[in-house]
């Protein structure tokens, strides 16, 4: 029940946003993450954005995976 999915914010009106995942759009509240901007990725849980996703940290994690993968192959 703690399922949350990464969605992209495509429109903001006050504390309501339109978010998109895989071509589907829906309304979401950004009351818990009020500084959300259009274009941000947020985690959507039960109709609410609960946290912004950090692109730099995501890239860093992927870089770490690649590093591990390389080290194992060597």
């Amino acid at each position: 029940m703690c399922l949350a999915v990464p969605v992209r914010v495509i429109q903001i009106d006050g504390l309501k946003a339109l978010v998109e995942l895989g071509g589907l759009t829906r309304q979401a509240s950004i009351m818990l993450v009020p500084d959300t901007q259009v274009g941000d990725y947020v985690l959507l849980h039960a109709g609410f954005a609960i946290q912004k996703l950090d692109e730099k940290e995501a890239e860093e994690t992927i870089r770490l995976f690649a590093e591990i993968a390389e080290r194992v192959t060597d």
Binding site: M1, C2, H45
Partner: protein, 371 residues
């Protein structure tokens, strides 16, 4: 899809798994606390990549499962009040209470509506001013802020027919209760990723400090989980237990301060009862002084009758990681997802449901790259 596909690369997953297999470690029990992790671990076939010495245990992190019968009975009694519309998440409908389920009383005529979000319940209240709308709020720190937000929004909109049966619970006190019980040996915790987006990493610090047990806050994609297991094994081998954050793209050390502020504005922390564990100090959220008037239990007269447990059901042992579903004589016989006896089989995140759907024999069905 962005933020998903990159974390499902099967070639990389195999390499990370290989690294785990090559690690020289003593046999360890790693517990995933969160039900969403339990499902992800089964669905992505993570177990098939782990060496035998790494044993995964499922913990008490399925909110539907840990809601005791007494609280389900109250929800059912509330729904049977004339003039009440009870709203709740779909997972709660089929959970058997002591005498009945929400699904059964709905079939008998009670006005019960499944909602995706507490905001849907708020809209129902707005559109039905002559009825009382009760939201049966279950869930951990991930979900509780959404209930708090709706309470604040209803107040702002002047909606006065919206009430709450809040059984929200807090995860770290349950982890302490498991450790104090000494019933199960845990060498490392896969800490819940989405609970942690709200609470951050600090609330787990007591685990390495007081119990010497490593913790890794983990994302939900196969690569996240494999990396977290590798990080736990690293902490175990260096004997330097701490709280690491693997799910860095979503979890900040401080969590979500706005969500935490709403929680403390609306709720107060209480001792509460968990199915299978009993009363855990400081593990529940009840409406605080300012919002007590919205507490459905105070507003409506309900007499739910004494709670009782289904004979033979071992959900309690399973929630504590003491037993596996196969050790329950009802599992996959008298108790199936179609006819569940206990909540661990009802919820899609329940350990029994996950074993029933994906079980041991499904090990080869879903490599990490193709969920």
């Amino acid at each position: 899809m962005r933020f998903i596909d990159e974390f499902r690369n099967s070639t990389v997953a195999e390499r990370v798994a290989l690294r785990i297999q090559e690690r020289k470690t003593r046999p360890v029990n790693l517990m995933e606390v969160c039900g969403t992790h339990t499902v992800a671990i089964f669905k992505h076939g993570i177990r098939q990549f782990l060496p035998e010495k790494v044993n995964m245990l499922s913990g008490p992190g399925c909110p539907v499962c840990v809601t005791p019968n007494a609280d389900i009975d109250k929800a059912i009694a509330l729904a049977q009040n004339a003039g009440v519309i009870l709203t709740t998440f779909g997972d709660m409908m089929k959970v058997p209470g002591s005498y009945s389920s929400l699904h059964q009383v709905k079939a008998a005529g009670a006005d019960i509506r499944v909602v995706y979000s507490v905001l849907d319940a708020l809209r129902i209240a707005e559109n039905n001013p002559h009825k009382s709308v009760v939201f049966f709020g279950v869930g951990f720190e991930t979900t509780a802020p959404t209930t708090a937000s709706a309470i604040l929004e209803a107040e702002q909109l002047g909606i006065d027919n919206f009430f709450f049966h809040s059984v929200h619970k807090l995860i770290p006190p349950a982890m302490r209760a498991l450790l104090d019980s000494n019933e199960v040996h845990i060498d490392g915790f896969i800490c819940p990723g989405h609970v942690s987006t709200i609470i951050g990493s600090q609330p787990y610090e007591f685990i390495p400090r007081e119990y010497g047990i490593p913790c890794v806050i983990t994302g939900f994609e196969p690569l996240d989980i494999l990396q977290a297991i590798d990080m736990l094994l690293e902490q175990i081998s260096t004997e330097e237990p701490r709280v690491d954050i693997q799910y860095r793209r979503a979890v900040r050390k401080e969590g979500n301060p706005i969500a935490l502020k709403y929680l403390s504005t609306v709720f107060e922390v209480i001792d509460t009862c968990w199915r299978g564990i009993g009363i855990i100090p400081g593990s529940g959220l009840k409406l605080g002084q300012r919002y007590k008037r919205l507490d459905a239990e105070r507003t409506f007269k309900i007499v739910p009758g004494p709670p009782k447990e289904a004979a033979g059901c071992r959900c309690g042992d399973i929630l504590r990681g003491v037993s596996r579903p196969q050790e329950c004589r009802l599992f996959a016989k008298a108790c199936t997802p179609e006819h569940p006896v206990g909540p661990c089989m009802v919820s899609t995140e329940g350990t029994c449901s996950a074993w029933y759907l994906y079980g041991e024999e499904s090990k080869a069905l879903s490599p990490p790259g193709e969920p």
